[in-house]
């Protein structure tokens, strides 16, 4: 979404779903995974909205939807592309919106070649290097120049790095355009051509969705979009956890842009995060490649320095044009008085990255003995990450491991009870890892904030003191840093200066010396030159007078009030409830809301009014904080040489983008294609019915002996793993189970790991309801109880019947409720933009009965592999 609209985050808030006339929930099981937010979908339905749930399984969400569409896991782009084709082919797009607010009219370089021309790939593919050169994707006439080669921000997108950067243009000049949208090289026509073969028949063939059902969905969306009506999409990790995950979301973005739903009430794309504060963990990131507020992490280039960084990363137009003030203010927050103009504000203190340091890369390095130590805090990769078996094996290669959690989770206990101990692949006495298990305080035992799926920062207050040695993350990191600094005190080495010069002076409170979380929040919210909390990010300067720990959070501490702790009841304010907590940026609840008004500033309709131009007051007004310069008139035209946001016109709502427009076609900010294309998952029983290119040509598949792949499509041996498998969540459990399988009230609600299969598959494989099944892939085999249910349906894809196997992934061997881990079956196969694993579609075989134990288990897996001819 960052690439399409400018910011990586849900464009709307859950309460707004009640305004939708049609809601498509896809790649999400919202009722089960976001039950509280789902109440607004129910509300929408009560108001007459049509709710459609597209999912391989009939779930508790489907039970409350008007229509459930069973779909083959991994074929969503074909489905959504089919909708794009339907819209364009039938002229159902919201023409005025598309023309004014998207880059539909932009003309693309003559060198650009589409997947239709090259049988499934785009121009610029470097197959060996597994990457694309994007020169041919650029707007025509744009001089790409120095931007070729490494640009830091190219990798910031997606679920865990909901990204960030909008696209930018090299110069501030407008690109070549065709207002009539007829030019065959304009985005609109390229879009048409790209999706021309995504017909309803093709959708049926690829997705297993009957034509009539598909048409019903397409028609429902078209019917419920336009001036008077809006439709919304809700998605979650069912879309992001694919080797083309980012492209899934891009396709939805294209649909919503063509239908004119972005920035409008009841419209938008509701990205449902997989965890209560994952949005926060990308905003104030725990990710290797971005800094707070989605500033890119500097790379190790030959030329370096703040100026070079800004030059490379700050586009001339749009709000990212202010990269320098954002960065300088961040540096001032971190290094305080030491950061001065003369030393580039300590820019050189920032580490440089030289390659992919994402989770799976790190674990692969760990297994290859390249890592000494590892902190695992509030996560359980031994269960929750793909190829969890490899995760556990890798942990045994560390010198030391620190795990912070409420319980001895599988990641901490691996050295004595991992499944690999039983098989003999690991021996406790041979594991050299020193494991430190540190008890963590729960959210009721500490102050702090969550940033939830709708970019809402909500404060939580400590209710009780933590017991015993339990401590918060804040305490842990602060005191760890303090002790490291004490050890380094007096050092003369330059390499120690970044640590010693940090501002590390938070006040501490209470018997445990807990750092004052509000003080940290205040630092994040930032201060202006007079040391007053910032009202928003506009006063940020690049002269070192302002500090701000995260520019998009500027304003969260305005007026010395913890804005995130506001709890004004909903019934005492408007339906938007702006005085409940605080959303970034600047407490805007629906992003890009300028697009809820037409180019002249009038709402597209009374029914869907949200923000409009008040000519008398000379400002934008309405239900929400305008996501726009408040006093920029609709007819504003920038002067020559105008910079940053001043360079955008009064009718260009997507203010983070260089051209102020939403991107149907993405020339930058995405590494595997400017237009989403249906690719088969990394492991799939099918070849690609659309193209010769089967799967994403630049996906990250880790070719390693400990990460073998099932043969796919027509590769020999693929019929040894004939079924599609997918993972999912149950309401009763939480992610990798550390917080739910350890609690009796939750463990008893879903006490055992089970798999869901259709009656047809059960018959085919001799599975008994309530009995056991062994599910096997090239990685390993696991066992699960069998749940035979009509909610799983066999599908007809590309001429034959395919079955799907559903696996809830919550289980591990610790706790009250224990079981095998579904993620053991999946490989490291990642989306190349955000390095997220494809855990939602792969292949497997299913056999009745329990799995072998001990060394018999890997022997069995190997036998199946050899029968398959499975190999590298």
């Amino acid at each position: 979404m960052g690439t399409s609209f400018g910011r990586g985050g849900a464009t709307t808030f859950q309460q707004d779903l009640a305004n939708a006339d049609c809601i498509v929930i896809m790649g999400s099981n919202m009722a089960e995974a976001h039950p509280v937010g789902f109440q607004w979908v129910v509300e929408a339905r009560e108001r007459g909205a049509k709710v459609i749930h597209v999912d391989p399984r009939f779930t508790r969400t489907s039970a409350l939807a008007d229509l459930h569409v069973p779909i083959r896991a991994g074929s969503d782009i074909a489905f959504l592309g089919g909708i794009v084709n339907y819209i364009l082919g039938n002229g159902r797009e919201f023409r005025e919106y598309v023309q004014a607010y998207t880059n539909a009219r932009t003309i693309i370089s003559d060198d650009f070649r589409d997947t239709e021309d090259l049988d499934g790939i785009f121009s610029g593919l470097d197959r060996e290097g597994r990457k694309y050169e994007r020169d041919s994707w650029q707007y025509k006439g744009m001089d790409v120049g120095a931007s070729a080669g490494e640009r830091e921000y190219g990798e910031a997108e997606g679920e865990q790095a909901h990204g960030a950067h909008g696209g930018e243009l090299e110069h501030g000049e407008p690109p070549q355009e065709d207002e009539t949208l007829q030019d065959p090289r304009c985005v609109f026509q390229l879009l048409k051509k790209h999706y021309a073969r995504y017909t309803p028949e093709m959708v049926e063939r690829i997705c297993g969705v009957p034509k009539e059902t598909f048409l019903e969905v397409a028609e429902a969306l078209c019917e419920n979009s336009g001036r008077e009506r809006t439709s919304a999409f809700c998605y979650s990790v069912g879309w992001t956890q694919h080797s083309v995950g980012v492209q899934y979301i891009r396709t939805a973005a294209i649909v919503q842009l063509l239908l004119g739903n972005i920035g409008r009430p009841g419209g938008g794309i509701m990205a449902l995060r997989g965890h209560a504060s994952i949005q926060g963990s990308t905003d104030i990131p725990t990710l290797f490649n971005i800094l707070p507020g989605y500033l890119p992490m500097p790379h190790a280039h030959e030329q370096t320095g703040l100026d070079v960084y800004v030059e490379r990363n700050a586009p001339p137009t749009g709000f990212w044009g202010n990269t320098r003030p954002y960065m300088v203010s961040l540096l001032k927050a971190w290094w305080g008085p030491t950061a001065r103009y003369e030393n580039d504000f300590c820019f050189d203190y920032l580490p440089r990255i030289d390659k992919d340091h994402s989770h799976y890369r790190t674990v692969a390095d760990m297994e290859d003995n390249k890592l000494s130590g590892y902190f695992v805090m509030g996560e359980n990769p031994a269960v929750g990450s793909a190829n969890s078996k490899l995760q556990r094996l890798a942990l045994a290669k560390l010198k030391w491991l620190v795990v912070r959690d409420f319980d001895e989770i599988e990641t901490a206990s691996f050295w004595h009870d991992a499944p690999e101990i039983e098989t003999g692949e690991l021996k406790t006495e041979e594991i050299g890892t020193e494991v430190f298990l540190m008890p963590a305080a729960a959210h009721t035992e500490k102050d702090g904030s969550f940033t939830n799926t709708q970019r809402l920062l909500q404060w939580h207050h400590k209710a009780v003191e933590p017991e015993g040695d339990c401590r918060s993350e804040l305490w842990f990191m602060y005191h760890l840093g303090r002790r490291v600094r004490e050890k380094l005190a007096g050092s003369e080495r330059e390499r120690d200066r970044p640590i010693l010069d940090l501002t590390w002076d938070y006040p501490t409170v209470g018997p445990t010396e807990e750092p004052d979380a509000e003080a940290v929040l205040a630092e994040i919210g930032g201060f202006d030159a007079e040391r007053e909390p910032l009202p928003d990010y506009l006063p940020l300067r690049d002269d070192g007078s302002t500090t701000c720990g995260c520019w998009i959070y500027a304003g969260c501490y305005a007026d010395r009030v913890n804005q995130t702790a506001r709890r004004k009841p909903g019934r005492e304010q408007s339906w938007v409830a702006p005085e409940w907590a605080w959303a970034w940026p600047m407490n805007r609840r629906i992003l890009y809301n300028r697009a809820s008004a037409d180019p002249q500033g009038k709402p597209w309709s009374e029914r869907k009014r949200y923000i409009w131009w008040d000519a008398a007051e000379g400002e934008w007004t309405g239900e929400d904080v305008p996501d726009f310069t408040p006093d920029k008139a609709p007819d504003y035209v920038p002067e020559d040489g105008a910079k940053a946001q001043q360079a955008l016109r009064g009718d260009e709502p997507f203010i983070m983008q260089g051209d102020g427009r939403a991107w149907l076609f993405a020339p930058n900010g995405i590494v595997d294609g400017p237009l989403p294309t249906h690719y088969e998952p990394h492991e799939s029983p099918f070849d690609n019915p659309l193209y010769g290119q089967r799967a994403n040509p630049v996906r990250e598949g880790y070719r390693r002996r400990d990460n073998p792949f099932n043969p796919a499509g027509s590769e020999p041996g693929s019929d040894a793993y004939p079924y599609v498998m997918t993972t999912y969540r149950l309401t009763e459990h939480h992610t990798a189970g550390g917080m739910s399988r350890t609690l009796p009230f939750l463990a008893e609600l879903q006490p055992e790991f089970f798999c869901e299969v259709s009656p047809e598959l059960a018959r085919e494989r001799g599975l008994e309801h309530g009995g056991w099944a062994t599910i096997v892939s090239a990685r390993t085999a696991i066992e699960a109880r069998v749940m035979v249910t009509e909610r799983m349906k066999p599908l007809r894809v590309d001429g034959r019947v395919v079955h799907q196997v559903g696996l809830p992934y919550h289980w591990g061997n610790r706790g009250i409720s224990t079981g095998d881990s579904a993620n053991d079956l999946f490989p490291f196969a990642l989306d190349p933009n955000v390095h997220i694993q494809e855990a939602k579609a792969a292949t497997c075989d299913v056999r009745p009965g329990r799995r072998p134990r001990g060394p018999e288990l890997p022997a069995f897996v190997e036998r199946v592999r050899r029968e398959a001819g499975a190999g590298r």
């Binding site: 109440q39 129910v42 508790r60 009957p210 059902t213 309801h769 909610r791």
Partner: protein, 301 residues
């Protein structure tokens, strides 16, 4: 026809301390089966864990209401046979889809044109005429000022008579404890003007709490609206004073027959039969006495 006048059996007892009758309206048409109600109830009331294991009964691993389960979510997976003539548009799609499968030789699900998954949170009905209350010989069970039915755990001696007197199979004896336990409608929370834990936790407002009179009105409107939208199968259960327990304090909107949800279709409080019961017992007693006396007649001739 359901009447919206509600009985308030406690009014006479409590007089000035009487409160408006409180109750639950559980609208199962918006239940998402999340079980927050089960967990919230257990946490607030310190109800012990009650693991049943994987039952295989859809997503219901809680079994049924009992001493250690005061809210219970039922799951029913159903094939819904919908004739083309009476169906909403969606079923055309399903029908067509089925034909696709049929023409390709794949056996469609028998008689299935549609599918639905019913979910419903069951609870003690807090009957107007409560079998458990009428049966209790120690006075442990009593009716509160809110017209709910609550067990005083410091009095109950575990005689178990209430257990067989409940037409709904709600109240039960707690193993290892000896006393009987059931939903109190969070009596302690009501006294502090709060709603019960389950109602507060329910994210979709499937569980609604409030003045029973108002809930009945709301429910009637809700059913009408559902009928208007083509959901003729929606019906209320327990809303009528004319039923066999005088109307429920916790009533429901169901989407199928009550027995599908483990609910009795026509519950009657045993007390309604008590006069007959005693008549027969006393008649038999008289016969016994007479018979004994008569057996001496021969000998005394």
């Amino acid at each position: 026809m359901s009447s919206h006048l509600i009985a308030t059996p406690s009014a006479e007892t409590y007089k000035s301390e009487s409160q408006p009758r409180k109750g639950f309206f559980t609208d199962t048409s918006v239940c998402i089966g999340c079980k927050a109600c089960e967990v919230a109830c257990k946490e607030w009331n310190h109800v012990p864990p009650d693991p049943q294991g994987l039952t295989g009964n859809s997503y219901d691993n809680s079994g049924e209401l009992g001493a250690n389960r005061w809210r219970h979510v039922a799951f029913i997976e159903q094939k819904v046979s919908v004739g083309i003539e009476e169906s909403p548009p969606e079923s055309f799609v399903e029908e067509a889809a089925r034909q696709n499968l049929v023409s390709d030789g794949l056996d469609p699900h028998a008689d299935e044109d549609g599918f639905r998954w019913l979910m419903s949170s069951d609870v003690c009905k807090h009957c107007t005429e409560a079998g458990c209350l009428d049966a209790c010989p120690t006075g442990a069970l009593f009716r509160t000022e809110f017209d709910t039915v609550v067990v005083q755990e410091d009095i109950c001696n575990g005689c178990g008579y209430c257990v067989v007197s409940c037409p709904f199979g709600v109240i039960d004896q707690r193993e290892g404890d000896g006393r009987v336990w059931k939903c109190t409608m969070c009596y302690d929370r009501l006294k502090d003007d709060m709603e019960p834990a389950c109602a507060q936790a329910c994210p979709t407002d499937s569980i609604q709490f409030g003045d029973l009179e108002e809930l009945r009105e709301r429910a009637a409107r809700r059913v009408e609206r559902l009928h208007g939208r083509g959901h003729e199968e929606a019906r209320l259960y327990g809303d009528s004073e004319d039923d066999g327990v005088g109307g429920f304090g916790a009533f429901f909107l169901l989407l199928d027959e009550p027995e599908t949800y483990r609910l009795p279709p026509d519950p009657v409080v045993p007390t309604r039969r008590t006069p007959e019961v005693w008549a027969a017992a006393l008649g038999a007693a008289a016969a016994l006495a007479g018979g004994v006396a008569a057996s001496f007649l021969r000998g005394r001739r």
